[in-house]
């Protein structure tokens, strides 16, 4: 790994293609070609230089453009496989039955898809490692190429060796009557054409749009910022995506928003058309919804209050959460996401004599959110609730069990006392079922006399502090793309050799047409010898362009 000493005496790092000082080609290949490869301005790509330790080997692996492109292709293919069937989180099925859903809806392919983990592809470890490797490749490859390129562009010499000049695509050679005047004129014209002109003795370098060379690197920086932003979502505090079901009348702590509470005052569902179509509305089928709205009140605990302490909740405001009108507070937003209609809130029963059911001894109204132990009906009759199960699921050891805390299937054990039956009669009452009388035939029974319903709203709570980062990353990325696409780096070298010959060469990283236009102008103005495009008439135009792999705008 020795340095390469150029004929001009300059010592170049191993791997350099064109001498950093004078531009002489240093490789055998370079010496034989007619037009040198100007990618990275002939600097040594760092990865090619050291290959001793494991770290260097890993580094060089990621620095390889072919590896990078392979990673891009693999990631692309993997990401597109994830779009064949809907991802698990978008499948409309309850959590435990999602696996069956794939098989049921998409058959064997669906089952295979799900079993291979493709239904949750973007969260799999291998996909994330793939993206991570791609990011590593972008960073390493950019550092390896960008830094030497930057150094080389910054330290450009005005004077180059003839062998460099002659191997540019655009060359001109000839005699001019007055070299100094020619140089002055070229300087004048090129300055007019907004070139930055530097002179060194009898040599001149006019350069325009150098920053265009940085476009790809800027866009890589944007990409990395974007990926970093996506990663930050996993850091606690940056990204909150919670969900809450809340019934009318309930107050709940908001998950993810410490110290905030929300009360559901009312859920409103409005549909188009005058006739409410009950069953359809219930199923959400064919009902053209006009408005989903939840009227809520937002509360906050006083500073320093402990979790669970709701004594001194401070009312912040009332708000109607509608679709596209989330409740916003402190960087969080609560969106109306879903609803459930008609959950039992209150049940009414009449205490009646079985012999004469029309004659009621009175009605009890059981608030299912707060049932009482005993309801006194006045007239010497009373009803006690011995047991209440909101979601009755059968008996176990003689005790009625509840499946959930939601009143989907309420059941009661009542003890009814009347003047006629002062000891009381026990009855088990389940909704929509005849009463069960464990202690023998009763004279009285609790007759269902209507119910009141309430609705439940579902909100998602979102906070995404990474959005500004994603935004900045995206903008930088676009700036990089625009710079790299719409600007080009044009250079013109002109020097007078000691023997009086004038040598001219020009290089542009893309858009040769723009360069030629400028060249035509300056050639006419300063009476320069006519230039020639070495690739234009050369037979190896096709070959040469074909051979260039990767992005030659770098």
């Amino acid at each position: 790994m020795e340095n390469i000493i150029c004929a001009c005496g300059h010592s170049n790092p191993y791997g350099t293609k064109l001498c950093e000082k004078c531009g002489r080609p240093l490789t055998e290949e370079g010496k034989q070609t007619k037009v040198v490869d100007m990618r990275y301005d002939g600097t040594a790509i760092r990865s090619k230089t050291y290959n001793k330790t494991v770290i260097d080997k890993i580094w060089n692996f990621f620095s390889n453009v072919k590896v990078g492109i392979t990673l891009i292709i693999i990631t692309l293919v993997a990401a597109s496989i994830g779009t064949i069937l809907p991802q698990e989180m978008y499948v409309n099925a309850p959590e435990p039955s999602k696996a069956q859903y794939y098989e049921k809806v998409y058959g064997l392919f669906g089952k295979l898809y799900n079993n291979l983990g493709l239904s949750n592809l973007y969260s799999t470890w291998w996909f994330q490692i793939l993206v991570g490797m791609l990011a590593t490749s972008i960073i390493v490859a950019s550092l390896d190429r960008g830094l030497p390129l930057h150094k080389s562009l910054k330290n450009q010499r005005v004077k180059r060796h003839e062998s460099f000049m002659k191997r540019q695509r655009i060359v001109a050679e000839g005699q001019v009557p007055n070299p100094d005047e020619t140089l002055d004129k070229v300087e004048q014209k090129m300055t007019e054409l907004k070139y930055h002109v530097r002179r060194d003795g009898s040599a001149l370098l006019a350069e325009r749009g150098r920053f265009a060379r940085y476009g790809p690197y800027i866009n890589h920086v944007g990409l990395i910022i974007f990926l970093a932003g996506v990663m930050l979502r996993l850091v606690p505090g940056f990204y909150v995506d919670e969900t809450i079901w809340i019934r009318e009348g309930e107050t709940r702590a908001i998950p993810g928003m410490d110290g905030y509470f929300i009360k559901n005052n009312k859920f409103i569902l409005e549909t188009h058309g005058n006739k409410p179509q009950d069953e359809k509305m219930n199923q959400g089928v064919n009902a053209m919804a006009k408005n989903y709205q939840t009227d809520v009140t937002l509360y906050k605990q006083p500073d320093g209050a402990l979790p669970g302490d709701i004594d001194n909740l401070e009312k912040l405001r009332d708000y109607s959460i509608r679709v596209n009108h989330p409740l916003k507070e402190n960087g969080f937003a609560l969106y109306q996401m879903n609803y459930r209609l008609n959950e039992l809130r209150q049940m009414n029963f009449n205490l009646v004599n079985k012999a004469n059911e029309e004659d009621s001894l009175g009605q009890i109204q059981i608030d299912l959110t707060n049932p009482k132990k005993e309801y006194d009906l006045g007239n010497g009759s009373s009803v006690q609730i011995l047991v209440y199960t909101p979601d009755f699921a059968g008996f176990e050891n003689g005790e009625p069990q509840t499946k959930t805390s939601i009143p989907n299937n309420p059941a009661f054990i009542f003890k009814m006392k009347t003047p006629e039956t002062p000891k009381g009669e026990v009855s088990f009452v389940e909704i929509r079922k005849p009463p069960f009388e464990p202690l023998g035939e009763n004279k009285y029974r609790m007759k269902f006399a209507g119910a009141e319903m309430r609705n439940t709203s579902n909100f998602t709570i979102r906070k995404d502090s990474t959005i500004p980062i994603l935004f900045v990353g995206g903008i930088i990325f676009m700036i990089g793309v625009v710079i790299g696409s719409y600007w080009n780096h044009r250079r013109l070298w002109l020097q007078v050799e000691p023997d009086g010959r004038v040598l001219m060469a020009a290089h542009v990283n893309k858009n040769m047409y723009s360069m030629k236009k400028d060249l035509d102008t300056v050639t006419t103005f300063a009476d320069l010898p006519p230039y020639e495009d070495q690739l234009d008439k050369s037979e190896d135009v096709k070959k040469s362009t074909k051979e260039k792999e990767g992005d030659n705008t770098l």
């Binding site: 760092r46 470890w125 994330q128 960073i139 979790p307 669970g308 302490d309 199960t389 176990e396 805390s405």
Partner: protein
């Protein structure tokens, strides 16, 4: 030589940072959906809840004593099964400085009172009406039990039904020395 060394160090640092970032992402995603309680070793978040008699119970009031903190609901059969055992062990350990605090998840007073009466529970039972404490402790599956030592640190977290021996050994764990 100096330059090569520097380069190696820089490369190592960059690659290490990237490996850490990827590792963190993979780990973070893998554990994202898991219901995680407060970490063992961390300070148990203080809270205050009201019991069936209207009395307030604050976790920090138990400082200096071990706390057996149990989250439950009447709709959860394993919760119900372990309750009598907890009740018995509570009576064994309460005079040795281990208190039991049981948190019901947002059920009605009636149901909770009924449950307490039926099992003759002696320890305080508070109701988390707004699910605030449940959210703070990130409780998902019931029953969930946390053992808090006299300094207020979480020393053990367990979900699912416990045998009486387990309950006793957990209470032993947080007994003040």
């Amino acid at each position: 030589m100096e330059k090569k060394k520097k380069r190696l160090v820089i490369r190592t640092i960059i690659l290490a940072v990237l490996v850490l970032a990827i590792g963190y992402t993979v780990y973070g995603t893998a554990t994202k959906d898991k219901v995680e309680l407060i970490a063992v070793g961390s300070q148990a978040p203080d809270f205050t809840l009201v019991d069936l008699n209207g009395e307030k119970h604050k976790l920090s009031d138990y400082k200096g004593q071990g706390v057996f903190l149990n989250f439950w609901g009447t709709f959860c059969p394993p919760c119900e099964k372990e309750m009598p055992a907890i009740n018995r062990q509570y009576q064994v350990y309460k005079d040795q400085g281990v208190q039991t605090l049981s948190v019901n998840i947002a059920q009605t007073d009636f149901e909770v009172q009924n449950f307490v009466d039926r099992h003759e529970l002696k320890f305080p039972v508070v109701i988390d009406k707004t699910k605030d404490v449940m959210t703070t402790y990130n409780v998902g599956n019931l029953p969930a039990t946390l053992l808090i030592d006299p300094d207020g640190k979480v020393v053990k977290i367990t979900t699912g039904e416990m045998t009486e021996e387990k309950i006793a050994s957990y209470m032993e764990l947080v007994k003040p020395k």
